[in-house]
Symmetry: C2
Subunit: 786 residues, 2 copies
């Protein structure tokens, strides 16, 4: 927990007013910019010092062998790791013979700020060189939402005292050192300089570099061009080499007579296109950006974000820090997905090399709930990406002896990259998570083409997987044995309730869609017998229950296992997986992250309120939250079971995951799912939104300190505006004129143009007992706003 916060609190941005070298990497993640296609970390313009330099193109990866001391059938052999692509951010500055480097001379002022409404990262540095020259360096940087191949930078140097000779080198740098973070020497070797030059061109303030990855044979190009304004005598020239494009600018700016450089950098990659094609692609994108011009691009950036905030903003009154953090989460969720367009949303977005740049279930389970309501096109694109990988998933299922499609636990390309099957292949729930995201997307947005072309095949093939993965026992119950649920501290168990409930939804959803789109279903080989077998399996699904304890074991036998000896764990022994063997974690009652609790959120109607309360009270003392994916889910169930202050604390944990670096790894990228989960915590937790049965329902409840929570939901062509205060709840219908019916505290109501207003929600039934977390794992109480 960072006690001296690195960032100032403000509603619409993140600001840093001093620079701590040891926090550089975290700030690079926090200030990372992305449009879902290009991602750049928030490194300093001059390149050094850097925590972890990084420039990423979605799905542009290098392949590497996965080693096994004892291999097994079906183990994936090829790993994939996101590649640090050509860095186009670098603008080096020489001030009268001294390189501008904040580690030397005096950094008299430092101010960096990312603005959630403009989308621009602004930096101002007032620096006195070792030889006594003081310059003000200002830069603005953005990754364009409107032109997805583009990053743009405006860079200004202005001496404060007298005319000063400066040299600016604006660069494209490939294979820059220090961009990997592995302990494995072989992996490091594979990624040390992953790109091989294929073409380089320079001249006329422009340069183009084309490279190819050595193993995966993906080809990428980067181009840069400049507009340069400076005092008379300013001149420049451009050159290129294999791993370097450089425009060198000589100028003598003075006070009031700055040198200003506008740099456009464009990127593109392809597994198929030729060197000339890639070269021309990035050159064309550069021409388009230049043609459009800085001002218009900035305006388009603003317009894109204004539209997003209209649809997505969540307002919290009473906790300025959380207000900021929630918007930070929404902003990064958008950045991770906006222009992915048929690509995945990695667990760390495009903000760092963490998790190798892989995509997990996080996308569907944590990010898509937000996107389906707030940025449905981005959600649709993410699911189209899954569909685009379905052939690989079918092959994987076949390799595993299963029907349908088995989507990978972790991947970039769609191929399984999980090298530890008990927490990889066995986590089949990812297939139900995808199905659940598909069903929600279709429920919230009206798009028959999507339903038929994307939703149907995804539902059908995942349903087939479940049908082949489970079996009926002697008593006719349908069991799914030997799988791993969300809680990775209990692997390879029978009848994980989360998995079984979501599989049942998956099976029912597939049945419904196959009947709704009969012809398309037939095209997929579905017949009435198969549909019936799905419904039958869903109906007969095993849901274990411990009659003695009156709780649901998260999987068979779970409640019979020994309870973890939490008292023996020292605070620095978390996360447990770094200090205890899997074998011990798996065989005891200890929960890494919400599992049954998550099932109670998603399949809210499968549990009575009393069961929810008992289960939540049972699992809270077992749940250590060694995953960033837990707190936001626990927040929802804490709120539903009346533990509103606990819910509030969990919301804080989810929202501040990266701003406070709670897991000590924000340095390698921010946690997109936890940040998107902030929306879940607020909207499902305090807004009480549920969407499990084709009709929205709300049971809003606020914790003491929040005076007002306000959010918007895109819903079937409308926008619903919801404002919750202590005095009552208001609903308004924005966009779309048709009234919408939903439930409010169980009562069906209709929201039309005139809006709806309700008085204070029914008083929260105080829970009989407080719930407890494992010793030392109680979430931090929300601190007072600073």
């Amino acid at each position: 927990m960072i006690q001296d916060p690195a960032y100032t609190v403000e509603p619409w941005g993140i600001r840093e007013t001093h620079l701590e070298l040891e926090n550089l990497a975290q700030s690079e993640s926090v200030f990372a910019q992305s449009n879902g296609h290009i991602g750049v970390r928030g490194t300093l313009d001059e390149g050094e010092p850097a925590g972890l330099p990084g420039t990423y193109l979605n799905a542009f990866y290098e392949a590497r062998p996965l080693p096994y001391a004892e291999a097994g059938y079906g183990y994936p052999e090829a790993g994939e790791t996101v590649v640090n692509m050509t860095n186009g951010k670098i603008i080096r500055l020489l001030v009268d013979d001294s390189p501008f480097d904040i580690r030397y001379g005096d950094l008299e002022e430092h101010d960096r700020r990312i603005d959630f409404r403009s989308g621009i990262l602004t930096r101002m540095a007032l620096w006195r060189s070792p030889t006594g020259n003081t310059v003000r360096v200002t830069s603005e940087r953005f990754v364009s939402f409107s032109q997805r191949a583009l990053m743009a930078i405006r860079y200004t140097v202005e001496p404060t005292a007298a005319e000063t000779r400066v040299v600016v080198q604006s660069e494209l740098v490939t294979n820059e050192p220090g961009a990997t973070m592995t302990n494995d020497p072989r992996t490091a070797a594979a990624l040390e300089a992953p790109l091989e030059a294929e073409e380089f061109l320079g001249g006329d303030a422009r340069a183009v570099l084309v490279h190819q990855t050595k193993q995966s044979k993906l080809r990428a190009g980067a181009a840069m061009g400049h507009e340069i304004e400076g005092p008379a005598g300013t001149d420049w020239h451009s050159e290129a080499w294999e791993d370097l494009g450089r425009t060198t600018i000589n100028s003598t700016p003075g006070p009031g007579d700055p040198l200003t450089i506008t740099k456009f950098v464009t990127y593109g990659w392809s597994a198929r296109r030729s060197v000339p094609a890639i070269r021309d692609q990035v050159s064309a994108a550069l021409a388009e950006a230049t043609h459009t011009g800085w001002d218009e691009l900035v305006a388009a950036q603003r317009a894109y974000l204004d539209d997003f905030w209209e649809r997505a903003d969540v307002e919290l009154d009473g906790d300025a820090e959380l207000q900021q953090a929630v918007r930070f989460g929404l902003f990064h969720s958008l950045q991770a997905s906006a222009r992915g367009e048929g690509r995945a949303i990695p667990a760390k977005g495009l903000t760092g090399p963490g998790y190798d740049g892989h995509t997990f279930w996080d996308t569907e389970a944590y990010v898509l709930p937000l996107l389906s309501y707030a940025a449905p096109e981005a959600a649709a694109e993410a699911l189209k990406w899954r569909l685009a990988t379905i052939e690989k998933a079918r092959e994987r299922a076949k390799e595993l002896g299963l029907g349908g499609a088995a989507f990978p636990w972790r991947t970039i390309s769609g191929a399984e990259c999980g090298a530890y099957w008990p927490a990889g292949t066995a986590a089949f729930h990812i297939n139900a998570d995808i199905a659940q995201a598909v069903l929600r997307q279709c429920d919230v947005n009206v798009d028959p083409d999507f339903e038929e072309e994307v939703a149907l095949p995804l539902l059908v093939e995942t349903a087939r997987l479940w049908r082949s993965l489970g079996h009926h026992d002697a008593h006719g119950a349908f069991r799914i044995d030997g799988v791993t649920g969300p809680d990775e501290y209990s692997a390879v168990a029978d009848n994980n309730i989360y998995t079984n409930l979501l599989a049942a939804k998956n099976l029912r959803g597939a049945a419904e869609f196959a009947e709704r789109y009969g012809e398309a279903g037939e095209g997929l080989g579905v017949d009435p017998e198969e549909v019936a077998s799905w419904r039958d399996a869903a109906e007969a699904m095993t849901i274990p229950y411990d009659e003695a304890l009156e709780v649901h074991p998260q999987s068979d036998n779970f409640t019979k296992h020994a309870r973890w000896d939490f008292d023996a764990v020292e605070p620095d022994q978390y996360p447990l997986l770094l200090n205890y063997p899997y074998f011990d974690l798996y065989r005891k009652q200890v929960v890494k992250q919400a599992d049954l609790v998550m099932a109670m959120v998603i399949c809210s109607d499968a549990f009575t309120p009393e069961e929810k309360a008992r289960n939540f009270a049972y699992y809270e003392p077992l749940t250590v939250r060694d995953s960033s994916l837990s707190a936001c889910v626990q927040a929802v169930m804490a709120a539903e079971t009346g533990h509103l202050e606990l819910a509030y604390d969990y919301l804080g944990e989810a929202a501040l995951m990266d701003l406070d670096d709670l897991e000590h790894n924000s340095s390698d990228g921010i946690h997109i799912a936890s940040l998107a989960g902030t929306w879940i915590a607020v909207v499902l937790g305090f807004g009480g939104l549920r969407d499990h049965d084709g009709m929205l329902s709300f049971m809003p409840r606020l914790p003491e300190r929040l005076g007002r929570v306000c959010f918007r939901l895109g819903y079937r062509g409308r926008r619903i505006w919801v404002e919750v205060t202590k005095r009552g709840t208001k609903f308004k219908l924005l966009d779309g004129e048709e009234a919408v019916r939903f439930r409010y505290f169980g009562e069906e109501v209709e929201l039309g143009e005139e809006g709806l207003e309700f008085g204070p929600p029914p008083p929260v039934e105080p829970p009989p007992d407080p719930v407890h977390q494992p010793p030392g794992r109680t979430p931090q109480k929300r601190r007072p706003s600073r």
Copy 2:
């Protein structure tokens, strides 16, 4: 299945009368010689052609890193692989300019034979060189039982037609190529030339080489010396280089005037001793051998084996092939263990590099039953080795968060080398297997020093492990969750019955010994509370039972799992683990090897006869025998449940594992446990021996074809001779005069000097139904003797 048997059938040896190059590696294993300290594969004297050259010193290994694509806490980082040590067998021959190489010229006769009574491998080759000279090459080779550092060879060349110039090069060759068999390039690199020269000396028909392994820093020396007899003019000289010692002999033998070379090769290694110390150690051993002389060494070898056969021989009338195979198994079991002296018995003995030269539970569970009755000193030594590694096992337990000692699943040095924990660390039953072997050893042999110094600490520390590994559930039952039993197709399961029953025996045994040796127990920190807690856990041990099916599930939920779809498996898809993912094997009813069935053998008194019959009938159709450890155990339970012909077929499978190369990997070493298990199949199966409650019992039953089975048991200072025929059973007391009581078909009887004789055993109750194996997995019917 080899249809054209490679070896001729004879009672006291294995003979090969023609040479198939593609079977070279298998024959090298079959003809491998060892005394438990030194092991040499049965390569041809001239070194080439070779299948897989190999010379091993027990526990002399190289370390190498164990790679993990996704590592976890507690994963062992260092692997261990047995090293191919300096080859002292090589005697190259140049016949009038032509190198003696059976791939060239004509091999007119070939005859190799290992004799189980002399212990000598004899070879005769009549070879016509490409230039038309014919020579008879004869060699005799043995690894001495009486001088454990020694291998000796007598090599004779005799031209058949005329005097012929020959050159003989008798060598020590280090780092010979082709001795590894890994697909992993990094492992291969580590083992390609693992030995670094430290000293070499040559001269006077002798040479010494001293080397050190590069990573594990173990030091080993090899010395050779020669006695040379030949026609006048025969002379020789010796030289040495870093990786080569060579004695070159020039001679011109003729018909009736052969050249005979007697070669003594001695070995030694140490982790601590210096280069001079090792050099002198092997030189001293060489001096001793030379001093003793060939004839006396041969006589001692014979005497050692005569004594062994007196104690160990098993006679079978009616099946000459099985008779041979049973003695082959006994002989190799002795070879693997005779002079190990504080070292392990690896799964492949010292006959090849298979399983990296590692020792598993095989030793205690399969080899020690034989040795405790037939070679108790060897059994004691193997257990002393375990004790010698107890500190590493304590550390491992601590690392895993457990009490007591956790012995490694696979190891050379005593450190855990298992890189896949579900079939490694989780297979905790190895600790109970050790305890069971300890208890049997103490039951069968009277040795209070062993009991106090070896048995007690092993029992106490393994009992502590179980006590910490299990817990009492809410109903007071003691559970052991999340472990892997012998069946590696069902891993990480709760309450594996095999594990639980043997753990209970372990706990009770520790309690009994701790009380019997109270002071020594106190020295280990045992107090009455701890003893009581062991007894309590043993009493409360959970033994799951499926009331509906009336069978024991081998672990919780097992009988609820889907049955494996055996009909979908093609014959070439066995072993399943090479063609199906672990996840699928683990979650279904399919059994790699006897697990519950093995529990019913060892803990015979924990099951009623009816339960045994039902369980056996239930598990037979699920058991695929993808392990060489299964058939011998199934033989025992098949016999007990009245399936005598099935038992006989299983005996055949166990006994012919390597002679018929049933698992297609005898090339990298023979399967010591399966061969020792042959004794189990005969003595426990057809002899009906059980020793589970401190008193021997017999229920002999013969299959149709076997007219007579006769075996001996060392027992508390006596030898019991047992002869089973269709007409009845005879017992005699050899050695030792005190009468012994045991049970015969449930009746307690006393065997004194006068012997005991019983009429035909009670007729075998024919089982109600035949049992079935999975399709295609029925053991081969015993073929008629050839």
